[in-house]
Structures are given as C-alpha cells and as structure tokens.
Amino acid sequence: MNMLETKGLYHDFSGLKVLFDINLQVKEGERHAVIGPNGAGKTTLFNIITGTYKPSKGKVFFKGKEITGLKPCDLCRIGMGRSFQITSTFNRLTAFQNIRLAILSKRGVRFNLLRKVDKIEEITRETEEVLKRINLIGERNFPAGALSYGKHRALEISLAMATDPELVLLDEFAAGMSRDETHNAVALIRKLTEGKTVVIIEHDMDVVFSLADRITVLHYGRILATGTPDEIRRNQEVKDAYLGDLEV
C-alpha cells in the first residue's frame, strides 16, 4: 500500500501556476526524496500535503484515505509530521519545553487542567529521553532561540518526529549546515526515522543519494521523473534539465 499518494494535484497562487498534475506515490517504509531547482514548487507540494493550503485541483491520500483539505492539526493526529525549511520552533521556550509540547500531543494530553505539567513524571522522562537522543540534554534549559544553528535545526527536526508520526516530511533539513553538521544531521535522521516513511526535500545531492530509496524530480511544477537513485542518475531528461547544471 502507498503511505502517501497524490492524484492530479494542481496549485496556483492567485494566478501564478506553481504545480501541474502532480502524481506522487510514496511507499510504506521508504525514504523518498523530492528534488528540484529553487522555486520548482517543492515546499508548496509539502504545504498542500500537510494541510497548509488546499490544492486548486486534485486529491491527496494518506494510508489509503483521502485527506484533501484536512487541517495540519488533524493530519498530525492521524500520524503525519513535518519540519520546516525556515526553522519554526518556540523560540522563547526552552528546548525542554519545546519537545514537551510534542510529547503532550503524542500522548493526547490536551485539555488537562487538573495537574501541573511539571509534576507529570512520565512526560518529563520521555521528553528528556528525546533530548538525550538528539544530543540536546546539555541545552535542556536554553531558550530555543538561543541555540546554535545546528542544534536549532536538530530541534526543528525532532519536533516533527517527537509526536511519533508514521509519515515524516522534512523540508531541507540540512539547509545552511556545515559539512560536519550535515553529516550529523543525516546520522540523526537515519536513527530517528527507523521504521518510518520519510519524504525529504533536499538540494545536497550527496545527502539525497545516500539517504533516499527513491527520488522524484520536480521541475517548474511538473514531475520530470521518479525512480531509484540509479535510474535518476541515468535519466537523460533529468540530466539535461537539472543534474547537468550541477555536474553530477
């Protein structure tokens, strides 16, 4: 079964056409990369899948059920998580409080007005475990806005993952990272996404080819090709349109 599928998606921003007839299929358990030059429409595609926008036309399916037009919070509750290209954390809250919000959501603690959150030990423990796993336990009480770039991005990614979603969409998780930071981030993602379905948007071809099981190439809002890394590397159209520029 496909974990995620889009059928004939179109989108335009008050006249500006951004996506044309997008048919994307992401299989359960695979790591799927969406690549394409700047402005190709990758983030817009994510925004439609995760409920930020409604598509102008077309449908989105998640675990076989139609989800077109559902809101981000509904999608999160049925198992979709997402990180943002532009870091979007709770900057005035500490790293601990950031992750704790995700844990609260994962455990469905929403309208609990009877206990102090600090006193709920399972939640504190689980939050600290997550912080340890992403190497942020030392920065537990730092405001997110004061973290170093690499750590801030790590927090961003784990916010998407801490609700324990089945499908994770990561938008350029390594953007702006140094070589080392990228290396660590790739390792972190391998570790955190064990057994999950992942869709990533990424410009760094080394990252894409080392991480992805399958790749979809987006070009001016159309899907140019979909296939395994080898197939994409060999595809003449892709080479002409995209990879050629990057001399891969």
Binding site: P72, R92, L113, N141, L159
Partner: protein, 331 residues
C-alpha cells in the same frame, strides 16, 4: 527544601496580614483593599488572555459587567438565593457571554481582536443604559438584598452592613481565583497556551487545535473577570453602566498589566497595587482620572515597556554579576 520552608512562612505571613487588616485599620482601608483585590483579579484575568496567548482585549469590562449585572439581577429577583450561588450566577453570565462571542472572536487576532472587544463592550454599555426596565439605566441596580454567608447548621455570617465579614469573604473568593488562574497556567493546557503565544503555526502542526485552545482560555479569562465584577457589585451593593461597563473599566486592567509587566503572572497584581497607591496620592490633588491613566500609560510604554517585572530583571542582571553572566548566555 529551605526555599520551600521560606515560601511557607511567607504565605502564612501574608494570610495573617490579610486577616488582621480589618482589626488594625479602619473601614476605609478595608474598602481600599477589596477594591485592590477586585481589580487585581480583573487584571490577572486580562493577562491570562494577553500575556499567555497574546490576545489584547480593549473590552474586558463587558465580562466584569456581566458578572456584576448577573449577580445583582439574581439577588434582586430571586428570593432566598445564597451568597455563593449569586456569585456563581455572575460568573455564569460572564462565561455564557464569552461562549456566545467565542465562534466570532477566535477567528481574529491582533488589532481586530482588540477593537472588536472595544465595540462589543460599547454595545453592552449602550444596552445597559437604554434597557432601563432591566438595568435601571444610568442609576444602575442598587440596594439589592445581600444574603448572609451560611454553612447550613454550622455558621452564618451577616454580610449586609458588616464590611469586615464581606472583606473576609471577598478576600477568600478573590485569593482562590488568583490561585486557580495561576494553577491554570501551570497545567499542560497552560503550556499549550504559551506555545500559541510563541508560534501558533507550529502548535497547529503539533496536532493542537489553536482556535479551540484560544476559546477555552477566552472563556476562563471571562469567567474570572466575572468573579471580580460580581464581588465588586455585592461589595458596593450597586452595579452601574459607568462603574462596571465603561471604557475606563476596560482600560484599567490593561494599565495595571502594563505597569506590572505583561507575561509575568504576578506582574498585574503588583501593577494594580502601584497604580492604586499612585491614584490614592494623586486624587488628593486632582480628580482627573483620565489624565492620570493617560499619562501613566504613556510614561510606562516609553520608559518601562516591560513593566515592573522587566525592570526588576534588568536590575538583577546589573547587580548580580554572577547570575547576569548566566542570563547573558541564555538570551
């Protein structure tokens, strides 16, 4: 552990002071302190909305007024109503009003939210003046019966004409309100509120419904404003359009909050105290309340925009260089 004991002593000390005030000082100070407590609760309730979700209301008076009118009307028309139920009816009126407005107001934020409330409060004010048959117009509702506070078979405290008794009742109700609101901000739900203030989009992506959360906070904030209004009405044995629904009643808690510090839970309480002391001194020289409020607002926003709480933080940073080092690292 040591801290806990100190805190414990502070609390006991505070309760003792509150308890002996009527014995030591006269009726005037009793009245002053009840007024302070009423506006402190109103200000804290406003700040629950403003400081913890970032929603600024220019019409909080409508919930204060709903509480006051609700209680006064109930006491006037329902014979044999107990004191607590009359307060309960006031709180219920404010909450119901908030519930009715909810679907509309949670869709807007920022400036539109502030102005919408100004408009609704104005509407309530006009209604209170025009619907004479119910609200008594300009005169308001006064001289309604005030039942004694009774625990059946145990004790009964007469409330009417014994300010001291009402003082204790008011302090317990208002103190409890502050504690409940404080607890509210510490619950998991309170964390979600703070998250909304910081980054509502991300809260949405984490699976929390932003509008539902805002709605709950809104109703809670309104309910406690209603408590304040209700107690205020019983205390004066009067509720009037100007005294409980006028724009100045809406602006007062904003000013108190600004003085004390937005986003600090106890800030508005300090702010209320400071403003009231200022007012006490100034009214000896002039009776121009608008002027005092206006000038205070301008001065605070220009020279201490973070209020007393922000000011203390800055002072701390300056004087305790060891801790300021830590703070620097964080911010």
């Amino acid at each position: 552990m040591k801290n806990k004991i100190i805190n414990w002593f502070l609390w006991v000390g505070l309760i003792v002071i509150v308890a002996i005030i009527p014995k030591v000082f006269g009726a005037y100070y009793v009245s002053l302190i009840v007024t302070f407590a009423v506006f402190a609760v109103l200000s804290v309730s406003l700040n629950v909305l403003l400081g913890f979700t970032g929603l600024l209301s220019f019409g909080h008076a409508m919930f204060f007024g709903a509480g006051g009118y609700g209680t006064a009307l109930a006491l006037k028309h329902i014979a044999g109503l107990s004191l607590l139920s009359s307060v309960g009816i006031g709180v219920l009126s404010a909450s119901v009003l908030a519930l009715v407005l909810c679907p509309l107001v949670v869709r807007v934020s920022g400036t539109a939210f502030a102005m919408l409330h100004l408009a609704f409060a104005q509407l309530m004010y006009v209604l209170a003046l025009k619907l004479r048959g119910i609200t008594g117009g300009e005169d308001g509702i006064g001289n309604f019966p005030i039942p004694p506070f009774t625990i059946p078979g145990v004790v009964s405290f007469n409330m009417k004409g014994v300010p001291e008794n009402f003082y204790y009742f008011a302090m317990i109700v208002l103190g409890l309100s502050v504690w409940l609101m404080w607890f509210f901000t510490k619950t998991p739900f309170g964390q979600i509120q703070v998250g909304i203030r910081d980054n509502a989009k991300r809260i949405d992506y984490l699976g929390f419904k932003v509008s539902h959360t805002k709605a709950v906070v809104y109703v809670v904030s309104a309910a406690f404003a209603g408590v304040a209004g209700s107690v205020y009405a019983i205390f004066h044995n009067l509720v009037s359009a100007d005294g409980s629904l006028g724009v100045l009643v809406s602006f007062q808690p904003i000013i108190n909050t600004m003085i004390g510090g937005v986003g600090s839970f106890f800030g508005p309480i300090w702010g209320t105290a400071i403003f009231q002391i200022l007012e006490e001194i100034i009214v000896r020289f002039t009776d121009r309340v608008e002027l005092v409020i206006g000038v205070t607002l301008i001065l605070v926003i220009m020279f201490a925009p973070q209020g007393l709480a922000g000011w203390i933080t800055t002072l701390k940073q300056r004087f305790f260089s060891a801790s300021s080092h830590k703070l620097e690292k964080i911010s």
